[in-house]
Amino acid sequence: MAENILIIVLSTISLIAAVFAVVTKKTINAIISSGVVSLMASITFLLVAAPDVAMTEAAIGSGLTTVVFLYALKHVRGQRSSRDD
């Protein structure tokens, strides 16, 4: 039961983070929140008996991907104002 509640909480957080990632004005916030989505997902994976996946998701999905995004953002800094920013 506790597990279920935890899952619901995690799901809610990840959904909120995902929506935030879409609607937020700043790209950097979006990147971070998408990382949060991944992180929540990896915790969820631990709970549903998939530790391999959880590790990989944590390392790649939430870790490396975010870094890659940040590096990309660095390259395009000083961009002309875009409508989402």
Partner: protein, 232 residues
Amino acid sequence: MIKYILIFLVLIGMAWLFFPLVVEFFTPDITNNLAANYVFGSAADLNMPNAVTAVVVTYRGLDTLGEVTVLFLATAGVGFFLKRKKHMEGIRRPGSEILKTGSEILAPLIIIFGIYIFTHGHLTPGGGFPGGVVMASAFLLLLMANENFGFSHGIINLTETISGIGYVLIGITGLVLLGLNHFLDPRWLGLGQWGRLFSAGAVPLIYSFIGLKVGAEMSGLLDSLQSDGGEQ
């Protein structure tokens, strides 16, 4: 405006498309036949506790080979796009003193941890991919700390090439030693004792190659990304 309505409708439509999948979904009580076979086989045939690894490295090894290739491809692609112009190193901000010192201490530790993860992939959760990423994170750390950290491309390339070709060659070894249908079969090496590091045939070897390759590829990827990205 019409476009937004259409987008809204499309999203609703996709949800509607997915809906029956949810309705029909139930969490089963027993695993299906194939899964059972995998779990049984990983222990019985391969002498490997981690069934996921058994599936990833052996049963569906070709997928993993492809996966490594995808990563290699992405690295090559990113490298291709963000080609470094000679002598046009981007100027990086130097990291703080603490970061520098810390990274010097931590990096070897992280690398060793990464090696641990991928060598024990057949026993514990983890394996080549997380292990590789962990190794790459050490590289990242060094990259952030030292402004002049020039990672030798030769080493990355060499690691990539050797581990990649090694992986393929191990696969072919199975083919040569065991026969037509034995590509990527790890059993040409002794299965060893249950639960030991050197067990489950060539699996640790394969996972090591994968780990090294992933590590090298991720490092290459990060390296390409942090570079200036060519001409402006």
